[in-house]
């Protein structure tokens, strides 16, 4: 066996070990494989997220998007141009009344408008996928979660770390104690964006700019941060007990009151702290979470993930042959989902990340759970808890006060 043969062999062996122990099933790439009956779905909300859902669902065999609903005629018209045969509705009530064959409803309305379509769809006996956070208020979030709990249909929420193969792989390392003692947590979600939407009609423009409307928007901590807070909670198996934050308009000085730059600090009851920052003024390094442990760190960036081992960390042997990437003075072991498949295809190389988008895996998990009667990666109660954390972070940022998150705040009452 030559040196390169040996390396290939070991890479394949590593891939096999990792895949058996750590990676999710490849069935996620074809959630309805082998089934003869199609799943017919409808999307409520034809904006940015509704369009993304339409695009991801178009890649799934056995899923038919039959209808779409939006109160904005321009957006609805645009969505209907994207797929022949798609039926359009201006209200959820009309959609539910006329689309009896629809099995699942996907809610992609603005966050503060999730409740009515989600609850109505559940009441109509539909499976429901609801974007996250669940709502802009704890009350609305609880109403959705209670409706989901009372239903015998599948309810999944769009906190996408939980269905993300890279995060599942990282979490398996985490729960096995690879990081050892946690020092602190850090995360950011930075992008260069005004968050503003233009429309020729002034009233429509006001409605479309709900993220900049301080009366309904959870701002950066709720809209972006809650997804990362949820990832940490899922890893830790614990929720923060306090949050404080501050925000200001640093870059987009266009009359808005919703902060374009925010920092938050979340505390856990064992003294662990999570430092979180977000800005709409700079995109450098984008979105990621860092877990700093005494034996290793994770950097998880949604489509990619890396583990950085400390010099005194115990070795398990396979690390020698793992795929690595350099970051300034450090070298990260790439956390590769579906390593066996990639190794077999000769694609186990630098820069390998998710095959599909995080949204695809979230929707695929939902579809698969409907087909198999299983529980989704993120159900109603977990989504409600992370929504409560997001709402608390938004409140803390606006008020400047520390907001306590009691255990009972996280429970459905």
């Amino acid at each position: 066996m030559t040196r390169s043969d040996r390396r290939d062999f070991l890479q394949h062996s590593l891939g096999a070990l990792a895949a058996v122990a750590l990676t999710p099933s490849l069935a996620e790439l074809a959630p309805l494989a082998g089934r003869s009956d199609d799943l017919t779905v409808a999307i409520v909300g034809a904006g940015r997220q509704g369009r993304a859902m339409l695009q991801e669902l178009s890649k799934m065999d056995g899923v038919v998007v039959a209808a779409i609903c939006d109160t904005d005629p321009g957006r609805l018209k645009k969505a209907l141009r994207r797929l022949r045969g798609l039926r359009g509705y201006a209200s959820v009530e009309e959609l539910l009344e006329k689309e009896a064959d629809v099995g699942a409803v996907l809610v992609a309305t603005p966050t503060h408008l999730h409740k009515d379509p989600a609850v109505a769809a559940l009441a109509a006996g539909k499976h429901v996928y609801c974007e996250a956070p669940l709502a802009a208020s704890v009350e609305d979030s609880a109403a959705i979660a209670k409706a989901a709990r009372a239903s015998d249909k599948v309810f999944a929420a769009g906190f996408l770390a939980r269905s993300n193969p890279v995060y599942r792989l990282a979490r398996s390392f985490f729960v096995s104690g690879t990081l050892r003692d946690l020092a602190y947590l850090r995360a950011q979600d930075d992008e260069k964006s005004s968050w503003r939407v233009a429309s020729p009609d002034a009233e429509r423009e006001r409605l479309l700019n709900w993220r900049l409307d301080e009366s309904v928007s959870l701002g950066l901590p709720g809209e972006l941060g809650s997804h990362q807070f949820d990832a940490f909670s899922w890893f830790l198996g614990a929720y923060p007990t306090s949050v404080r934050g501050s925000g200001s308009v640093r870059v987009h000085d266009d009359g808005r009151k919703v902060a374009d730059t925010v920092t938050c600090e979340l505390g856990y009851d064992d003294g662990l702290r999570l430092q979180w920052a977000s800005t709409l003024g700079n995109s450098y390094d984008g979105r990621y979470e860092v877990y700093k442990g005494s034996m290793a760190s994770f950097k998880l960036a949604w489509t990619h993930g890396w583990m950085f081992k400390e010099a005194d960390a115990p070795t398990q042997g396979w690390e020698v042959y793992a795929n690595r990437q350099n970051f300034h003075n450090d070298e990260g072991i790439t956390l590769i989902a579906d390593a066996t498949k990639l190794a077999a295809q000769g694609k186990l190389k630098d820069g390998v990340g998710l095959i599909e988008t995080p949204l695809y895996y979230g929707l695929a998990d939902f579809v698969k759970c409907i087909a198999e009667g299983a529980s989704p990666a993120c159900g109603a109660e977990a989504a409600h808890r992370s929504t409560v954390v997001g709402v608390a972070a938004a409140r803390a940022t606006v008020s400047g006060d520390e907001v306590a998150i009691a255990a009972e705040d996280l429970e459905l009452r």
Binding site: A52, K59, L83, G85, S194
Partner: protein, 291 residues
């Protein structure tokens, strides 16, 4: 697409124009994710995996893109061919060449069902590569989005090789686009039209440039072609066709320039293709360059 896109929008409300351009870039990211030939996640990748086994459903934008690609392929008698994916990979232009994979091409093996909105291949091993038309089509869709927002004057480009003009800049009757960095490079006059340039010297492998001659299954002779057309998709595809085969008959709405390139000697002079037009300014073309 995998290239840099830029939008220049003329207007007085900067906040609004920024919001519109952000929407345009979001649209672009979605189109890129859908049509890219890299990776396995795009709809085009799904078509390549499955269309030889069974019909694959397409959304309207992808159906229209494939329809136009096949239309140009037929009109150019295969000089532009959207099925060169396997061949591009074999020549090392896609970074994922599999030495054992079958290499097949030929647009006539692609079949669209207009009623069902599906695509099928009647030949295994066929792989779509829409790199020579998708960038143009994306620019056309962005231009449409800008028009819907009431933008009347703008210049959009993708990778500097495909350009769309909305109107003309205030005080001028056209946008002037130089076809190269040289001071005496020809300039194209653009007003409400699109421009695309295809040059085989852009990316090269050991066998030659990245513009492939489908009739031989090998890189075309070194050349540069520049096309003005009503749409960027049309300009993009025809620039590739003319780069490979400059003697094709040009459709009526198009005008073009062609140059045989010599990597180690002076390039041949530009020559116009088709009927004379005022679309290009260049001394050698007996047009006056502005000061």
């Amino acid at each position: 697409m995998g290239t840099r896109f830029e939008l220049a929008l003329e207007g007085s409300d900067e906040v609004r124009l920024r919001a519109i351009s952000e929407e345009a870039f979001e649209e672009l990211r979605a189109l890129e994710a859908h049509w890219t030939g890299f990776g396995e996640a795009s709809l085009v990748a799904k078509v390549n995996r499955l269309a030889a086994e069974r019909p694959v459903a397409l959304d309207e934008e992808t159906y229209a893109l494939l329809d136009e690609a096949l239309s140009v392929a037929r009109a150019s008698r295969g000089a532009f061919d959207p099925t060169l994916g396997a061949l591009m990979a074999r020549h090392g232009f896609r970074g994922d060449a599999d030495a054992g994979a079958p290499v097949a091409w030929g647009y006539e093996h692609v079949h669209l069902d207009a009623d069902a909105r599906t695509v099928t291949f009647d030949r295994p091993g066929l792989r779509l590569d829409l790199g020579a038309i998708a960038k143009g089509r994306a620019l056309d869709l962005l231009a449409e989005l800008l028009r819907e927002h009431g933008v009347e004057r703008a210049l959009l480009h993708g990778g500097t090789s495909a350009v769309v003009a909305l109107g003309a800049p205030t005080g001028a009757d056209a946008w002037l686009v130089a076809l190269g960095p040289e001071p005496d490079a020809p300039r194209a006059r653009l007003a409400g039209r699109a421009l695309a340039v295809s040059a085989s010297r852009g990316r090269v492998s050991e066998a030659g440039g990245h513009v492939l001659d489908a009739s031989r299954g090998a890189p075309a002779p070194a050349a540069t072609a520049c096309v003005l057309a009503p749409t960027a998709a049309g300009a993009d595809a025809w620039a590739t066709a003319l780069c490979a085969q400059p003697d094709l008959e040009l459709p009526p709405a198009l005008s073009a320039l062609h140059r045989a390139d010599a990597p180690e000697a002076a390039d041949a002079p530009w020559r116009p293709l088709g009927a004379p037009t005022n679309d290009f300014l260049h001394p050698a073309l007996q047009r006056e360059l502005p000061a």
